[in-house]
């Protein structure tokens, strides 16, 4: 657990000092909103309210690639990864720490993005803000855990930046579907269907277990 806390603290502190991941993701998602606006007939406004949940999660998926790539690449400098491999206890806690840091950073970006979407598409959610935040947290949990695992593979391969989305996106489609479904219900003023929320929880658990267990094999060498 100490390893988890130390890694989480280190990643959040470096991010706080440099703010490079938050800023790059934030600017990127704003750009995506502009692109969506010109790509959609009727633009990013009330006319396309039904598309908002899907677009919100699509933007999140695209932005997550930037954040995940930068989560592992600093560890490759000066071979810091070998140092991480020497942590006492289960190496899965290294992944857990890095994934949690990425989760928090992604959530911060998504919070801004969601607020922007609510304003642009003229949706008022009022008391359901908590439910929306919960769905954002659940959906992002799966992205952060399996994403950190796959970024640790791709960052040490040639063309890693190209490889990461190819590896990651097919595994994120179930999250996109379930999270967009739940988000659509919340934005429409209904409680999210139990099926979508249950699926999000199951995905989070499965991806967390797979990442935690197999990170051991990624770090050794």
């Amino acid at each position: 657990m100490n390893v988890f806390r130390a890694i989480l603290w280190k990643d959040l502190l470096t991010e706080w000092r440099r703010r490079e991941r938050v800023l790059s993701m934030l600017v990127f998602t704003l750009l995506l909103v502009v692109i969506f606006h010109f790509a959609l007939p009727g633009g990013a406004g009330p006319a396309n309210r039904a598309a908002a949940p899907g677009l919100l999660w699509a933007a999140t998926l695209f932005a997550s690639i930037l954040g995940l790539g930068r989560s592992l690449s600093p560890e490759l400098e000066n071979d810091a990864l070998s140092g991480l491999a020497l942590v006492p206890g289960d190496r899965g806690y290294v992944l857990l720490g890095k994934a949690t840091a990425t989760w928090l950073i992604l959530l911060a970006v998504e919070g801004v993005l969601a607020g922007l979407f609510l304003a642009l598409f003229e949706i008022s959610i009022g008391a359901r803000a908590g439910a929306l935040l919960a769905v954002l947290g659940l959906g992002t949990g799966g992205i952060a855990s399996i994403g950190t695992l796959l970024a640790s593979l791709s960052s040490r391969s040639r063309f890693g930046e190209v490889l990461l989305p190819l590896l990651l996106f097919p595994l994120l489609v179930p999250i996109l579907i379930a999270a967009a479904d739940a988000t659509a219900a919340i934005l429409a003023g209904d409680p999210p269907s139990s099926g979508s929320v249950r699926l999000l929880v199951v995905i989070d658990v499965v991806y967390l277990v797979v990442s935690f267990v197999s990170f051991e094999y990624v770090l050794e060498e």
Binding site: R156, S157, P174
Partner: protein, 238 residues
């Protein structure tokens, strides 16, 4: 170089090659003849005969992906390169069969449903799975060092296997299926049972033949590389 392979998987593959090759050749002839003479479907006409090709391809593709995941997990536990060669061979052959399935599917769909593609449950699932295993092969291509390739690929192969049920429930959540549930209900029309059975047998034999061939080639390649490295080491020592 000429001796029998050292590991049991490659030995079994090489021993199985001639037999599966002969059985495959025989089955293919019988299969083609039976399909040619099978009665055309009353509603769909001749296009329905894709039934004898398309689902068997799917069975073989899914079998390949299952082998990739399991063999990858076994590699991580036992650290025997033979399992990695089996995993990568199964992924390559699986991608081949899945590609053929994704080509024959739209042809059949155009003929019966009237459109090339529908985002239905099984189509979408198979497409996603195809993406996972193409990414698996790309990961192998872009990673360096045979030991690291084996390790990384095994990790991704296991993740790829875990995503199948997740994708299933997710796509089911987003829409229903227009794919028939024929197989579960056993409702093949009269005269369709035999050609379908032969299709499954022939396709699975073809799968095993290609898998054995690919495992054998992988093993020979590994031995050649080992010999080359030994020769280099000797040259440096001299």
């Amino acid at each position: 170089m000429q001796g029998p392979p050292a590991d049991p998987i490659a030995r079994a593959a090489r021993r199985a090659l001639p037999a599966t090759g002969i059985v495959l050749a025989g089955l293919t002839v019988v299969y083609a003849w039976v399909v040619w003479n099978a009665p055309p479907d009353r509603v769909q006409g001749v296009i329905q005969k894709i039934l004898y090709v398309h689902p068997p391809l799917a069975f073989a593709a899914y079998l390949g992906f299952l082998i990739t995941g399991v063999a990858g997990a076994l590699y991580l536990v036992r650290r025997d390169d033979a399992y990695d060669r089996l995993a990568s061979a199964a992924a390559e052959v699986g991608v081949l069969f899945a590609t053929l399935m994704l080509i024959t599917g739209p042809i059949w769909a155009r003929g019966t449903w009237g459109r090339w593609w529908s985002w239905d449950l099984r189509l979408t699932l198979t497409l996603l799975l195809w993406f996972v295993y193409v990414a698996y092969l790309l990961l192998r291509t872009f990673t360096e060092g045979s030991e690291r390739i084996a390790r990384f690929a095994a990790v991704y192969g296991i993740a790829g296997l875990a995503v199948i049920p997740l994708n299933y429930f997710a796509v089911q959540l987003s829409q229903g299926s227009i794919h028939p549930e024929n197989l579960e209900r056993g409702s093949l029309g009269p005269g369709m049972g035999l050609p379908f059975l032969l299709g499954v047998l022939t396709t699975l034999t073809a799968f095993l033949f290609l898998l054995a061939l690919r495992v054998d080639v992988g093993e020979l390649r590994a031995r050649a590389r080992a010999r080359l490295e030994r020769a280099w080491a000797r040259g440096e020592a001299a």
